[in-house]
């Protein structure tokens, strides 16, 4: 049974993913594992090491979830989602945390939220397709709404997660309520009560995420439209071939009967 499950998953994997993508997955995994090993050897802070360990575990989560029975929707999630997950982990964990881009590249967090939510629209679309029990295509406008909406859910969930971490771990600053490196952002805005500074990072993340989600929704629409068109063409090509093989089989049967 395990053998037949692995075979069927391999078939689905070959349908959805190219070998180039698969190779890139391993490049990303090796980069992050090396970063974790170096950070551990370098005696980095326990909280950062914990985050890196969790991120390495997430990199391998999806393929493991695919081993669940297909009636559980997570096992039906497209293998393509792994591309997006690894890209996001590389940007946040490797470049953001390990290479220190959060502190050295101005507005890195904002770029991350815009691009992250853009990609999350596609993750939302993949989740919607997995939650559906059939393989029928989704209308492009409905797909865009589902992806767009899911990406807002992910943005809010992320802020709630950060707030919870800051609430339970003393000294945690996930929501940047301490306003470290926020001088440029504060200078951009009209003068405000200093009591509002804690809101700045969260609200700028939500605004940046909203922009990314809107762009993602706009791009997802033509993407789904073209994908549906391509699938319909494939099906149309497959139908006449099936009909012609049926007809040729009928002919050969009838000629055999005559002879």
């Amino acid at each position: 049974m395990l053998k037949s499950k692995l075979k069927s998953e391999y078939k689905i994997f070959r349908d959805e993913v190219t070998w180039v993508e698969y190779a890139l997955w391993w490049v990303a995994r090796i980069m992050l594992i090396c970063a974790l090993v170096k950070a551990t050897k370098g005696g980095w802070a326990a909280s950062v090491l914990l985050q890196l360990r969790v991120e390495v575990a997430i990199m391998f989560m999806l393929p493991v979830l695919h081993l669940l029975p297909r009636k559980i929707f997570i096992a039906r999630l497209s293998y393509r989602v792994q591309d997006i997950v690894l890209l996001l982990l590389l940007i946040t964990a490797y470049y953001g945390q390990y290479r220190g881009f959060y502190s050295t590249v101005e507005w890195f967090d904002v770029y991350l939220h815009v691009s992250g939510m853009f990609l999350c629209v596609f993750v939302g679309y993949a989740l919607t397709m997995a939650l559906k029990h059939d393989n029928l295509p989704l209308a492009p406008v409905v797909a865009a709404m589902c992806g767009f909406g899911f990406s807002f859910f992910l943005a809010v969930s992320w802020e709630i997660f950060e707030f919870t971490c800051d609430s339970f771990w003393a000294g945690s600053n996930s929501q940047n309520w301490m306003c470290i490196d926020s001088a440029h952002l504060i200078a951009l805005l009209p003068p405000m009560d200093p009591r509002r500074y804690a809101l700045l990072d969260t609200m700028s993340d939500l605004i940046a995420g909203a922009i990314g989600s809107v762009f993602g929704g706009i791009v997802l629409f033509p993407y789904v439209y073209l994908m549906n068109k391509r699938k319909a063409k494939k099906l149309a090509l497959a139908k006449p071939e099936a009909q012609s093989t049926d007809k040729s089989e009928e002919k050969s049967i009838s000629t055999q009967e005559h002879s």
């Binding site: 559906k132 209308a139 909406g149 807002f152 802020e159 301490m178 809101l199």
Partner: protein
């Protein structure tokens, strides 16, 4: 002539989408909002309150206006009349009861209850918007409808927080309740750095909204599954009776 035809077709659509009981509720909601606005202006209440009541009153009348003024090829004119019920519930809860009657100050945590209930209602409003944008007779599958409603409710929740942040930024307001200082009792239960107080209201609003959206999405999914099952039964019964009629005719 065109206006007469438009009014006739809109009346037919309204009779399909809503009941007279709902229409009665809308009228009560409209009267209350207009009364609240006129009263706030006459009694010289806080200009912020008047501004909020103006916006809420406009929102309460928006959908009928879209239906009458816009052609049906624009999705706003295709939003079901049912959505007026949801909008009036939200506007009454926040604007009239919350702000005009000052229940926000009288009932502790009213804001949190409103966010849970509001996002629950927004799932259904989001579903109506999704149906209008889709523009087809084929119904949405229950899971897709629930995802659309759920997602659009989060979009509304985030948009609301962004709107409040912008108002506070440019009009020196306190809509995000950033000036809130928690009680001693709260601080004993959840000790936190004083600099984080400004986040409390916004984050509790988002958490309450998330809860409301989850419950709303689940309820919408169950409701649509039941509706589809009923419709299938009716269709199967009709087909069976048509077949038996055809057989007896033969």
């Amino acid at each position: 002539m065109a206006i007469k035809r438009k009014l006739k077709s809109e009346y037919r659509q309204f009779r399909k989408d809503a009941t007279w009981f709902e229409f009665g509720f809308w009228c009560v909601g409209w009267i209350l909002m207009v009364y609240g606005l006129i009263n706030a202006i006459k009694t010289n209440r806080d200009p912020n309150l008047t501004m909020i009541l103006e916006a809420d009153t406009v929102a309460a009348f928006m959908i009928p206006v879209f239906h009458l003024l816009l052609p049906r090829k624009i999705f706003l004119a295709r939003i079901s009349y049912r959505a007026i019920t949801w909008i009036i519930v939200l506007v009454l809860g926040a604007g009239f009861i919350g702000k005009f009657l000052d229940i926000y100050k009288i009932v502790a945590s009213y804001d949190s209850y409103l966010h849970v209930f509001g996002c629950f209602v927004l799932v259904f409003a989001g579903y109506e918007v999704a149906k209008a944008i889709k523009n087809g007779d084929e119904p949405l599958a229950p899971v897709i409808a629930a995802i659309c409603g759920f997602g659009l409710s989060f979009f509304a929740a985030v948009s609301w927080e962004i709107f409040e942040f912008t108002c506070d930024q440019f009009f020196n307001g306190n809509t995000q309740n950033w000036a809130f200082a928690p009680s001693q009792h709260f601080m004993q239960m959840w000790p936190m750095d004083i600099r984080r107080y400004a986040l409390l209201d916004t984050m509790t609003d988002l958490m309450c909204g998330t809860l409301g959206s989850f419950v709303g999405g689940t309820v919408l999914f169950i409701h649509l599954c039941r509706k589809n099952r009923k419709a299938k039964k009716i269709r199967a019964n009709n087909e069976a009776s048509d077949n038996s009629k055809a057989e007896t005719a033969e």
